[in-house]
Symmetry: C2
Subunit: 555 residues, 2 copies
Amino acid sequence: MESVRHSSFLFDRIFCDEPASTSSENALEGFDWHIGVVAGGWSMSKRALSVTREENFPEWYQAVVRDGDMAETSPVRGCMIIKPWGWGIWERVQAELDSRIKDTGHDNCYFPLFIPMSFIAKEAEHVEGFAKEMAVVTHHRLKNEDGKLVLDPDAKLEEPLIVRPTSETIIGDAFQRWVKSYRDLPLLINQWANVVRWEMRTRLFLRTAEFLWQEGHTAHADRDDAMDETLRMLEVYREFAENVLAMPVVTGEKPANERFPGADNTYSIEAMMQDGKALQAGTSHYLGTHFAEAQNIQYQSAEGQLTYCHTTSWGVSTRLIGGVIMTHGDDDGLRVPPKIAPRQIVIVPMLRDKPEDDALVAFCTDLEKELKAKGIRTLVDLKQLKSAEKRWNWVRRGAPVIVEVGGRDVASGNVTYMRRDRLRDGDKVVSTTMAKGEFVAGAAALLDDIQATLFAQAKARLDGNIISGIETFDALAGYFGAAQADDDAATAFKGWVRVAWSKPEGAALDAIDDRLKALKLTIRNAPLDQPAIDGQTCVFTGESAKQFVLIARAY
Amino acid sequence: MESVRHSSFLFDRIFCDEPASTSSENALEGFDWHIGVVAGGWSMSKRALSVTREENFPEWYQAVVRDGDMAETSPVRGCMIIKPWGWGIWERVQAELDSRIKDTGHDNCYFPLFIPMSFIAKEAEHVEGFAKEMAVVTHHRLKNEDGKLVLDPDAKLEEPLIVRPTSETIIGDAFQRWVKSYRDLPLLINQWANVVRWEMRTRLFLRTAEFLWQEGHTAHADRDDAMDETLRMLEVYREFAENVLAMPVVTGEKPANERFPGADNTYSIEAMMQDGKALQAGTSHYLGTHFAEAQNIQYQSAEGQLTYCHTTSWGVSTRLIGGVIMTHGDDDGLRVPPKIAPRQIVIVPMLRDKPEDDALVAFCTDLEKELKAKGIRTLVDLKQLKSAEKRWNWVRRGAPVIVEVGGRDVASGNVTYMRRDRLRDGDKVVSTTMAKGEFVAGAAALLDDIQATLFAQAKARLDGNIISGIETFDALAGYFGAAQADDDAATAFKGWVRVAWSKPEGAALDAIDDRLKALKLTIRNAPLDQPAIDGQTCVFTGESAKQFVLIARAY
């Protein structure tokens, strides 16, 4: 039996901690002190962050990252410091995805951080795509000159080294040595690594100069096998995004102008953020024989003929964490899906520096032990902070379940907890009390329910905000136009629009791209799962349409 | 009931696979074909590698790394490619050590790959130690000039960036922001990362320009707490090296001239390789307040006073894998301790492209399933290679247990396996046959026994080869002298020598260092666990001795 209290329970408890403050004016001050100490200043929203999604989505994002102890900017331009809570989420992302990558037959390897400049130059389109903003190592020594550190001109490298922006060329060079016969195929390799792309405008997790990712690289005997791999890994990403990150996505093919440099086909998973923008959350590329030809990756077929391999590559990055934040965060901070939460249940003992504290801590560590025995990642927060401060820290970090244990709970053998996915009813915080044994027995199911709820909320948002029925470019412009003049911060929620198009390439596609760019719009992808296109005309050219594509503002 | 066969079982089986080759001349050719195809050429040693430890230890090391599919050199000077088997071992090393680092209260974070040049300059000794051989990023863009990629002079960085050789300075900068009060201490952080030191002479795993490691960084209120941490992590390394890597080590303090740049005290774990040389396998540093003062890491004490923190750092790297190879490898290749083996039991079905193959594969996958259910990392090797070739590949890689399944095994319900730690009796390969159920029931204990056997062998080598009783420098030189003129390849096994010394510093220590260097010797460490020094005189200075130190050739 559980009893659900809809009350301002947490605020009451603040004043259990602070018995001096009992007037309603002080109550607000107390609230302010606990909430505002991190978020900075009084929040009219009465929420745990200083800014709401509606007020300013980009500032809200930064507040979640900062106040949720996820990451911070570093003194190195565009590079971030990932803090323990953010890193813990990334560790879970890695573990879950890595097991899927291994289950589909891939082996992990590690290739060098540096790529000789000449390697980048081998594949023509690849050069165009990547030869621009990269970190270039030119020297291998500093020297002390008049007490100042300077470059040692005697230590200039003969050939500059590029800090890898992606590893197709250096891994392709290894494939060229490793692949001899059809028996060596398919060659299925993955690596977890840091990469660097010198971005001008950076945003934590979403776009940073250095980021962390996995990059799969495979070689196959023919196009069919390589295309199967490309789509298999796209499906791995979809299943992972939806079942682990609770982030629904649309799988589809990118238009030609958005392909990876050197790819024949690029597929993506696209997720809808709470501001209606799209986030490209993962890509899978069929590279044809371009890299194989540039790098001489050939195999001897069963018939003895030397043949170029067909290769693929696919990757997801720390950008996923930005997607999780913008999919699940609310005005109290982050809500972490249980499957990737470093701590799924956090227990906060309401300590008062009194002798009763010992019994309280014993109750909490006992509860922790029982939950851990069920495989639940649990923490008793014994930090030297006021319990109200700890509680709100965990709300902002988005621990799925927060248990608060006070003297009454110990006496009654009860557990009182908050579900982070349903923190409030209106402005009031909701808590549930039940017998400890019952809580422990139901904890795994509770976490499953939170995971499912987060997914259902995000899925309803995605499904409900893909607009169809727009048949002309003017109508498209009109739909998005209201937001056109606005700046990023105040862009109205518009969702995505599904339009029919004739799939032009080359100059015609460039012209469409320019018209969309003027509206800050992009073609996200052509969904793999789409209705029949019969009789539709292209929204851009008026010609007979070949497929539907999704149009959206995007990160 | 098990029956142990001492026979040339594997060679027999080769000819089961190749029924045409039955003469004894062909037998040798068959052996050569299976063994020599990777190792290259005929081996007089009748072992799976083309060179033995005794013939040429450095070449043997390279053969193990190459033929065991551990790693290979890359086209980037000094950087290695870690291949799936080597990477799988590193993944196990990471998992085992990471859980120990977390269990001792540390959180993982991630800090930038790049360090501004000015950061390195902050701590004077650190500059001296690290400002020399480092990769320096000077530009952030290339451009296409007359069809050639060149540095874009407009994209020169205002301040060069250093690819981290270690992260004390960039992490210290964060600590300076994160530490405010005594309540924030101790601050216990770790990161897993790649680092770069521009080494002139590189050797796979042992010394590479880029390597992978974990680096712990902590801040404490006072010296005692920081020193406790320094020694706690040294002990974590010892326990990990001995219980997980099966590599016995000596813990101790490095002499002043071997300290980490900027440290007050540096401690190490030292392991004895099979050529008698020492390998520094991990270090833990007490940094005093040097970095705190250089980077202004201060806290407010309970009494309200601003005080500098005492900091530590500690790390182990992919070098450990080199240590595992040189501790456990034999003339047939690597022997991987079960706790870090990516595959603990490998099952090789002896397929013959006949209808009976189906029953054979079913037997193997059933066995795999039963072993996996017991938590044992198992693989059925279904690659399109001859089974004898597969078997020897796994011998060279050092899978702890190799099971070969032929038609007779399926018929009798038996399992025939080799223990990689006891592969041979003389030249003959030893295999054991037992009922399948019995094998599965005993598999975990078998792996434990292999782990224990590998440790016992290495421990006996270490304990039996630390020589004491040498009391003068001449005697020391005499002991090692015989090997002095030899080149690396043929250095005779000498083990380590324990001598008494007076622990001089400064110029006196430099002079000792020079004398030792002339003999290619170094002081490894002063063991924490050492006998009473009463009445001994220093082997270098003749003065009254303060402690014992270990002298050895080293990697």
